[in-house]
Amino acid sequence: MTEPKNLSHLKALESESIEIFREVAASFERPVMMYSIGKDSSVLLHLARKAFFPSRIPFPLLHIDTTWKFQEMIEFRDRMATQHGFELLVHTNPEGLAANVNPFDHGSSRYTDIMKTQALRQALNAGKYDAAIGGARRDEEKSRAKERIFSHRNAQHAWDPKNQRPELWRIFNTRLAPGESMRVFPLSNWTELDIWTYIYSEGIEITPLYFARKRPVVERSGTLIMIDDDRFRFEPGETPSDRMVRFRTLGCYPLTGAIPSTASDLPSIIMEMQASRTSEREGRLIDSDSVGSMEKKKQEGYF
C-alpha cells in the first residue's frame, strides 16, 4: 500500500471545483451551466463530468449565441454536446436578431448589452434558473477578484458588491428568496496558468482557435481582427492579410483580438504565456471602455 500523501496543487483545485459542482446540484432546483466554448468552459465541462460520474451532468448547458461567434466555436460546441451527451440549450436575443443588432452599427457596448447581457437575462428568466454556473476566475479582473464563489443575485440578476455574504471555509450559503438566483464560479481560485497546465495534463480538447495558424486578419486600433465570414465590414483602406495568429480568449469574432504567435501546440502556448507581458482580457474590447467597466457590467447582470 502506498503511503498517504497530500494532493498536488492541480488535484486540489480539481477537487475544490468538483465539490462546488456537487453543492449546486444538491442545493438548487434548477441549475444551469453557462457554456461559452472557450478554454475555461472546456475545463468547466470536464470538471462537471468528473463531479457527477458515472451519472450524467444533471443540468443543461446554456450557450448565449450572439450569432457573431467564430464558426469554429459553433462546430466545436455541437460536437462536444454529441460526444459527451449533455443537454445543450442555445439562446439568441430575438429582438436583437430582428433588429439586426451587430458590432459594426451599434458599437461594442450597446451590442454587448443587447446580444449578451439582455440575452442572458432573457434565457435565465425563461428557464427560471436559480443557479447559473460560470467559468470566471478571480485572477482575470479586479472586480472578479472580490466576488464570492456563490455570488448572490437579486430578482433583477444584479450583483451588489457592497452587500456580499461572508463566505467562510468551504461552507456555502445557498439559500435564496423567490425570484433571486445565484451565480456560481467553480474556477474562482484557478489562474490562467492552472487552466493551461490542467488542459495539458488532462488532455482536454479545446477549439483550434487557440493554436497559431495562418488566418485572414486586419489590424484595427492596434488589434488584429480575424475575418471569419462575409458579414465583416472593412473600413476604408483595410485589406485582409494572412498572418500567423492565435487567440488567448474567445468571443464574438469582430470584437476579439488575435495575437501574433507561432505557438501551435499546448507546450508552446504555455511557454509563450509564461513570457507574456500583457494580460488575458486585453484582447477583449469591452473591458477597455472605462475603468471599472467590468464591475458595471456585472451589476447589470453580465456574467
Binding site: 500500500m1 498517504p4 497530500n6 494532493l7 496543487h9 480539481e14 475544490e16 468538483i18 465539490e19 456537487r22 444538491a26 463530468r49 468528473k50 457527477f52 460520474f53 458515472p54 451519472s55 450524467r56 478571480r138 485572477d139 479582473e141 479586479k142 472586480s143 477578484a145 472580490k146 458588491p161 457592497k162 456580499q164 461572508p166 467562510l168 471555509w169 468551504r170 461552507i171 450559503n173 439559500r175 428568496a177 474562482s188 481560485n189 496558468l193 497546465t197 495539458y200 495534463s201 493554436f211 497559431a212 495558424r213 500567423m244 507561432t262 505557438a263 501551435s264 507546450p267 508552446s268 504555455i270 511557454m271 509563450e272 507581458r277 500583457t278 494580460s279 475603468v291 471599472g292 464591475e295
Partner: protein, 638 residues
C-alpha cells in the same frame, strides 16, 4: 499540425519537467490584515510588482490611474492594483476581500487582501478562514491599534497558526530600531495567549521595497528574514491526512438502479477500499467496496480528494450524513459550545431560531446561552445578553436534530459552521465548535427567561391572537380555517378555538344566559392567552356579540398582539345559509337567546379589520386577512 519553432522555449526546457515542477510546487494561502491605512493593498501590490506579475497593459492603466496619488519611486500607487471595486477607488479604502495570485520559483501564493475598517471585520474573518498564514500590518508611526488586536484575536479564533508582523512605513520613522523593537514587544505581550505557533516581526516599507525581497540597506541593525524569502520557506503544512477520517456525503449519485454511490470530499484522514465505515447518525456499518472517479477506480482517497464511495451493502444514507471509521467517530449531539464572530447588523440573542450549516448539514438551531463576550483589546470576558456586529462571543447552541461534528481545534472542516437568517437568508455569523454537550451536562437555560418571544422564535413566528366576531353563519370559521391552512403551508403553527369545540369540552357546563356567555368568553380569552404565550398563533372564532366581552378578551391578551376581525354578513344572508339549521329552530322558538333573533349583536366600533361576508368569497377574505395581518410573514406580524 504545422512545424513551427517556438522561440520562447529555451532549447533545454522540457515542458513535462517544467509542468511537473509547477504541480509539485507548494501552495501557500495567506491573508494580509491590520488597521486601515497600514498599507495592506500597497504591500500586495508591491509583492505582485516585485514578482513581475504586473503586465504591460496593467502597468499602463495603473500609471494613468496613479496621477494625483501617493506614489513611490516607480510612479505607481500599488494599492490600485488590488482595490478593484469602483466604490473602493472612490473612497480610497478596501471594503471586501480580494484574492490575488502570484508565484515565485519556490511557491505559489493565493493572497486574501482583507479590509481594515472595523465595520468590515467580517470580511477579514472570511479571508482568514481559508488561510494558513497571516501578515499583520502595523503602521510604524501608529503602533499596535485596536484593529490590530481585533484582527489578531480573530486569527486566533479562526485558527491561523502562523503570523508575520510586518511593521510597515518604517521609512517614515527614519528606520529607527527602537520604534520597531517597542512595537514588537508590545505585540508579543498581547499575542502570547493567542496560540500562534510561529510569530516573526519584520520591519518593511511596502512603498519603497525595504526588506521585501532583499535585506534593506537602510536597516543594518535588522538581522531577521526578508518577507518574500520567509513566505517561500515557512513550513505551514497542516496534516489533514493524519487525522481521523471524515467523509461528509454531499450528493447521492444514482445514475441507474445498479449504481448507488455517495459523492463527497474527504474532509480529513484517508479512506481505502475494504475499510469499515460507520454512518454517524444511524450508527449503521458498511464496508467501502469501491472508490469511483472518472479517471477510474482508486484504492484510497486522502483528505481533500473529491470522490464517490460505493458501499458493500444497502445503507440508508443521504446528503448531510458523515462517514467515519468505527473507532474514530465524530461527536453526534444536538448541543455544543462554540465561539462565534457576529457578522450582521441584526443583533444575535438567545432564543431566536436560525439555520445552522455545517458541512452538508443544514438544521434549525437556537443560541441557548450567551456565556460571555470577549473584549478584543484586553481579551477579557464580559457578560453579555446579546452579540452585535463584529463582536466575538462564547455561547451554547442547540440544534433541532443531532448533527455530526468535531471540535474545531481537532478538525477544522468538521468543526466550523455558519448561522443563516431564516427570513432574509443572510449569513449572520461564523462559529467554531469548542466541544459537544451531552444532555447530562445540562445547558444553563436559566440564564435567560424562556418567554413567549423565545418560544415563538423557536417556531420562527410571532405569537398573536386573531379574534373573529360575527353572526352565526357569517363565515368566521370558514375564513379561520383557510387562514390556518395558509399559515401551516408557510411552516407556522396556529390553532383555531371555535365555539363548538370549546363548548363540547371546556365550557360544556355553560348555557346561553348573558352571564354564561361572559364566562364563556372569559375562559376562551384565557385559553387564547395561554396558547399565544406558548408561542402559537391563535385564531378565535366566536360569535362574541357583546362589546364588553370583546374588550375583556383584549384586556386578558395584555401585550400579545390582538387583531379583532369583524365578519360583517347581514342577518338575512346568514339566515338564508343557516348551515346548522339553528336560525330555523330559533324562529320556531326552540332555541332561546339566539343572537340576531332574540338576542342583540353589537357590531364592533374599532375592529382592526372588517370582512364583508355577503359580497366576498371566503378565499378572498382569507387572502385579505392574511395579507393584512401576516403580510410580511408571521415573523413580523402586527
Amino acid at each position: 499540425m504545422m512545424n513551427v519553432a517556438a522561440p520562447i522555449r529555451s532549447p533545454d526546457t522540457d515542458i513535462d519537467l517544467w509542468l511537473a515542477q509547477q504541480t509539485e510546487k507548494g501552495l501557500l494561502r495567506f491573508l494580509t490584515c491590520g488597521s486601515v491605512d497600514d498599507g495592506k493593498s500597497t504591500l500586495i501590490g508591491r509583492l505582485l510588482y516585485d514578482s513581475q506579475l504586473i503586465l504591460d497593459d496593467q502597468l499602463a492603466s495603473l500609471r494613468k490611474e496613479s496621477r494625483n496619488r501617493m506614489v513611490g519611486d516607480e510612479g505607481i500607487d500599488f494599492s490600485l492594483l488590488v482595490d478593484g471595486l469602483a466604490a473602493e477607488r472612490e473612497q480610497g479604502i478596501t471594503i471586501d476581500v480580494a484574492y490575488r495570485f502570484f508565484s515565485t520559483d519556490k511557491r505559489k501564493f493565493i493572497v486574501a487582501d482583507t479590509p481594515g475598517h472595523e465595520q468590515y471585520t467580517r470580511n477579514m474573518a472570511t479571508g482568514a478562514s481559508n488561510a494558513d498564514l497571516a501578515i499583520v500590518l502595523i503602521d510604524a508611526r501608529k503602533g499596535v491599534l485596536v484593529q490590530t488586536r481585533r484582527h489578531s484575536f480573530i486569527l486566533s479564533l479562526i485558527g491561523v497558526k502562523h503570523v508575520v508582523l510586518a511593521i510597515n512605513k518604517i521609512d517614515l520613522v527614519g528606520y529607527d530600531p527602537d520604534v520597531f523593537n517597542a512595537i514588537e514587544s508590545e505585540y508579543r505581550a498581547f499575542a502570547k495567549d493567542l496560540g500562534f505557533e510561529t510569530l516573526v516581526a519584520i520591519p518593511v516599507s511596502a512603498l519603497k521595497g525595504d526588506n521585501i525581497l532583499m535585506p534593506s540597506p537602510n536597516m543594518g541593525w535588522y538581522r531577521g528574514p526578508q518577507l518574500v524569502p520567509y513566505l517561500e520557506t515557512i513550513e505551514v503544512a497542516s496534516d489533514r491526512t493524519s487525522k481521523p477520517m471524515r467523509f461528509p456525503v454531499q450528493w447521492v449519485n444514482r445514475p441507474n438502479l445498479d449504481f448507488r454511490g455517495f459523492s463527497g470530499t474527504v474532509a480529513s484522514g484517508v479512506v481505502s477500499v475494504g475499510d469499515d465505515v460507520l454512518v454517524a447518525a444511524s450508527r449503521k456499518p458498511a464496508k467501502v467496496a469501491r472508490i469511483v472517479t472518472m479517471d477510474g477506480d482508486i484504492s484510497m482517497a486522502v483528505a481533500g480528494h473529491a470522490v464517490t464511495l460505493v458501499l458493500d451493502r444497502e445503507v440508508d444514507i443521504s446528503r448531510g450524513d458523515v462517514l467515519s471509521h468505527p473507532g474514530e467517530t465524530p461527536e453526534f449531539s444536538n448541543q455544543f459550545q462554540a465561539r462565534m464572530v457576529w457578522m450582521s447588523d441584526e443583533t444575535a440573542f438567545p432564543g431566536r431560531s436560525y439555520l445552522l450549516k455545517i458541512g452538508a448539514q443544514l438544521v434549525p438551531a437556537t443560541i441557548t446561552d450567551l456565556k460571555f463576550r470577549t473584549n478584543v483589546n484586553t481579551l477579557e470576558h464580559t457578560s453579555a445578553k446579546t452579540l452585535e456586529l463584529n463582536e466575538v462571543g462564547t455561547l451554547t447552541i442547540a440544534t433541532d436534530k443531532p448533527i455530526a461534528f468535531d471540535a474545531y481545534a481537532s478538525n477544522g472542516l468538521t468543526g466550523a459552521f455558519i448561522l443563516i437568517d431564516r427570513i432574509s437568508n443572510a449569513t449572520l455569523g461564523a462559529g467554531v465548535i469548542d466541544f459537544g454537550l451531552r444532555r447530562a451536562q445540562n445547558l444553563s437555560w436559566q440564564s435567560f427567561d424562556v418567554n413567549r418571544t423565545v418560544r415563538a422564535e423557536m417556531k420562527g413566528q410571532t405569537a398573536s391572537i386573531v379574534w373573529f366576531t360575527g353572526l352565526s353563519g357569517s363565515g368566521k370559521s370558514t375564513v379561520a380555517n383557510l387562514v390556518e391552512k395558509k399559515l401551516a403551508a408557510e411552516g407556522h403553527h396556529a390553532y383555531i378555538l371555535d365555539g363548538d369545540n370549546v363548548r363540547h369540552g371546556l365550557n360544556k357546563d355553560l348555557g346561553f344566559t348573558e352571564e354564561a356567555r361572559v364566562e364563556n368568553i372569559r375562559r376562551v380569552a384565557e385559553v387564547a392567552r395561554l396558547m399565544a404565550d406558548a408561542g402559537l398563533i391563535v385564531l378565535v372564532s366566536f360569535i362574541s356579540p357583546f362589546r364588553n366581552e370583546r374588550r375583556l378578551a383584549r384586556e386578558i391578551a395584555g401585550d400579545i398582539p390582538f387583531t379583532e376581525v369583524y365578519v360583517d354578513t347581514p342577518l338575512a344572508v346568514c339566515e338564508a345559509r343557516d348551515p346548522k339549521g339553528l336560525y330555523a329552530r330559533a324562529r320556531r322558538g326552540e332555541i332561546k337567546n339566539f343572537t340576531g333573533i332574540d338576542s342583540p349583536f353589537e357590531p364592533p366600533e374599532h375592529a382592526e379589520m372588517v370582512l364583508h361576508g355577503a359580497v366576498e368569497t371566503p378565499e378572498a377574505m382569507a387572502e385579505a386577512l392574511y395579507e393584512q395581518v401576516f403580510g410580511r410573514g408571521p415573523g413580523y406580524s402586527i
